[in-house]
Amino acid sequence: MTDRQLIAHLLRRAGFGATPAELDFYAGLGFDAAVERLVTFEAVDNSALEAALAAKSYDLTQESQAATWWLYRMLFTARPLEEKMTLFWHDHFACNNAKVANTPYMVVQNNLFRANALGNFADLVLKVAQDPAMLVFLDGRDNVKSHPNENFARELMELFTLGIGNYTEKDVTEGARCFTGWTISNDRFFNNVRQHDAGTKTFLGQTGNFAGEDVCRIVCQQAACPIFIARKLIKYFVTDSPSDDYVARMADVFRSSGLDVRTLVAAILRSPEFKDPANVRGLVKSPVELLVGAMKHLNVQVLPSDFWSTLRQMQQELFEPPGVDGWHWGEAWISTTTFLFRANFAQRLTSGTDQNKQPFIDPVGIVNQAGLTTNAAIVDYFVDRLLDGDMTADGRQVIVDWLDGAAKTSSDRLRRLRGAIHLILTSATYQLN
């Protein structure tokens, strides 16, 4: 693996892929400095993005525009890991607007994830427990002393911090009692003490007159918590089948740091496993990674107002994870149906036009600018740009043959060029991250 391929791998995992210019820039830094810049993103000036977004003035009370706003951030941010972690938390503490039915709440939650993207995990758990969208989504607002609602207490342990097997049914009912009275008032968290069960509870082996804060603290003190979170982040960034030893090493780093997510993510990105060639293209691209990545690779500058619905078709609609366990990653992204939607998204980029009726890409312009004079050179160029060179000679020949089949007219030639890029974007390797 070349240094440039390693940087491309880093930017696909810690971000959503890179434009040719971004790849040049990070490659110039070298791997270690690139990681440092990604994980200390607060130091990176992002004012160009914020100014562009201000000019766009998306209506964040509309779900489709909020989703487009977020996609715009992913596409044009100077802090890719910030958005990649925001997506991680959205998937981890998954709430969907189908139930929350309040887009402003979803945006507040999204900003909470962004502000705590690489913060302290225990702090984030408490903030999420008091987050209005979560209080709606897992029925916390209906959890009152006379009728405890177990939904949040259960998922807090099962999906957010510990995993099945690390708590009992009794902990669920006792945990629910601790959260009674936590509700929403005037669109903000409100602790309604009259609805709180002030009795003694026994939760995960500890007994006291606990409230929600205590539950959040106690779950994060469990030995299972750093292991659970480290494993999930490793699966997000590195491999979907990590060894127990790898997870244990990263969990140790996380525990020793006092559950500092920045320390954990930096350790994962710097681990030997991250650079292991066996793990390059070892994950399946999620639809968001595919869509944003393809636009960056091809340097598409216009974000159409309907690409959020393209993500819905590919089964990763932002603000709409299917359930509280988030999206199902890995091979679950790719079914015959979603494969066709992925391929047809690629077709739209290569052959379609944006809302201003302009083609998304100008293949002839790219070819001329790069000074490519043979079909073999054209194929090599796009295989480098889109796949970091990861295609066999036989595969390249198939695309060269396709280009060679063009008639002499310029419209035929253009269509074949679009088709060649489409074949690379729909290749099996391009579906992998």
Binding site: N151, Q315, A343, R418, S427
Partner: protein
């Protein structure tokens, strides 16, 4: 490719195994041909439609024990009035919105299997769903129960890496664990209208074929050793081939009834559409979600049960008009029922045992098993009486001609799918004893 008698019997169960080297379009032609050949020799094949009611459907407000005062004590605000219930017996009745299924019950086509569950019920949506989808409560998820059946039916001992088949179709965009297999690729078809591989659009038909050909050549080549490469290439090839085939079928189907305007009914209409193409598909999987009614249950569940019941009824009427309804049995389940007592939000929390429905003209209708007691509870939940794997065993043995013991372990099938001829049927595999266990449908409650 040559057939042995054993292969042919397996093909009779579902489809033939295909070698990896054969182009998938050719393999599919052979499979479709062999399925038609089997139809000609042995008569029509039975078809299973699985409906997963996601989120945990509240069984007590679906099959309502209206004659039990304990029901109304446990549910003072969300209990369904006796006068509104669609009575099935002098003890239970269906939710008032389930008129379609009531008609099926009256026609003897709906088996209501009561009190279905398993030991040590899990109240997590995800784990409970996995348990129902794998039928393996004690091991981590690997293959689905129908996936194991498909693998056994398709591949036997000489297992290829992956076969493509229209033997089963998932009508949704993502594949449920139930259909996860080791050796068979199951297509997921969310909508036939968008199920098409688009090329540029400005080209002549011949150029489109060249584009598809280049795609297929790329997908026939193994690339660098990426862990998911084989998987992606299998799905990609299947997607392109299947979509070309389905485009042709979609053009020739017309529904015989007006389906309700719901996503669920549209999915069932799509099942009818694919059935009309006679591709040999024997299993379809459809999902209806949203049953996790912790709050405001009456409105939410009432709407969902209407969607469910009306959709099934319309689907069967469409098939009846086309003369193919006798081929179809529908299995509907949810990952758990809900607590007996309502909560303070006009809802119910996660519970355990619940009814399972098996519907179709080939079903022996009625109430199966006794309704679980509302007073003899297990931590506030109903006790199960019939293991869900007995329901699956009935389907595997009596409808899909499979081996329930190999797929599920030792569970006694119920007598809900009596053998009936859809025309000549294949001889049973050797050693497949058929004993039918009849469950009393007594409504007397302890």
């Amino acid at each position: 490719m040559s057939y042995t008698r054993r292969d042919f019997l397996r093909a009779g169960a579902l489809f033939v195994s295909m070698s990896l080297t054969m182009p998938s379009f050719l393999a599919r032609t052979i499979q479709a041909t062999s399925d038609r050949a089997i139809s000609a020799v042995y008569g029509r094949r039975k078809i299973l439609v699985v409906v997963q009611l996601g989120g945990g459907n509240d069984g007590l407000n679906t099959v309502v024990p209206y004659a039990d005062p304990a029901y109304y004590q446990a549910r003072p605000t969300i209990g369904i009035a006796k006068s509104a219930v669609l009575q099935l017996s002098d003890y239970v009745g269906l939710h008032p919105n389930m008129t379609g299924l009531k008609a099926r019950f009256d026609a003897g086509q709906l088996a209501v299997v009561q009190g279905v569950g398993y030991p040590n019920p899990n109240r997590s949506h995800f784990r409970a769903t996995e348990i129902w989808q794998t039928a393996q409560p004690d091991s981590p998820p690997n293959e689905g129960w129908l996936g194991r059946y498909l693998d056994a039916a398709c591949c036997g001992e000489d297992k290829p890496v992956a076969s493509e088949s229209m033997g089963v179709v998932n009508v949704a965009d993502t594949l449920p664990l139930t259909l996860w297999t080791e050796h068979v690729l199951v297509p997921s078809i969310g909508s036939t209208s968008t199920f098409k591989f688009q090329t540029d659009g400005g080209e002549a038909p011949d150029e489109r074929l060249q584009h598809l050909d280049a795609f297929r050549k790329l997908y026939a080549q193994s690339t660098a050793p990426h862990v998911h490469d084989d998987f992606v290439r299998s799905v990609g090839r299947s997607a392109v081939d299947t979509s070309e085939q389905l485009q042709a079928i979609a053009r020739s189907y017309t529904p015989s009834v007006t389906y309700p305007n719901t996503t669920f009914a549209t999915q069932l209409k799509q099942v009818a559409q694919i059935m009309s193409g006679d591709l040999g598909t024997r299993i379809y999987y459809v999902q209806l979600g949203g049953f996790d009614t912790h709050a405001n249950q009456p409105t939410t569940q009432g709407g969902l049960l209407r969607t469910f019941s009306d959709g099934i009824h319309a689907f069967l009427r469409d098939l009846e008009a086309k003369g193919t309804a006798d081929d179809v049995a529908i299995l509907a389940f949810s990952e758990f029922g809900r607590r007996v007592a309502e909560n303070g939000s006009q809802g119910t929390d996660h519970g355990s045992a619940a009814p399972v429905f098996v519907v179709g003209p080939g079903v022996k209708g009625g109430l199966i098993g006794a309704h679980p007691s509302l007073t003899d509870l297990n931590s506030g939940d109903l006790r199960f009486a019939i293991d869900f794997r007995s329901v699956y065993a009935s389907i595997l043995r009596d409808w899909l001609e499979g081996d329930p013991k190999a797929v599920l372990g030792d569970f006694q099938p119920l007598g809900i799918l009596p053998p009936r001829n859809l025309g000549p049927v294949p001889p049973p595999a050797p050693g497949m004893a058929r004993t039918y266990l009849q469950f009393a449908t007594s409504n007397a409650q302890p």
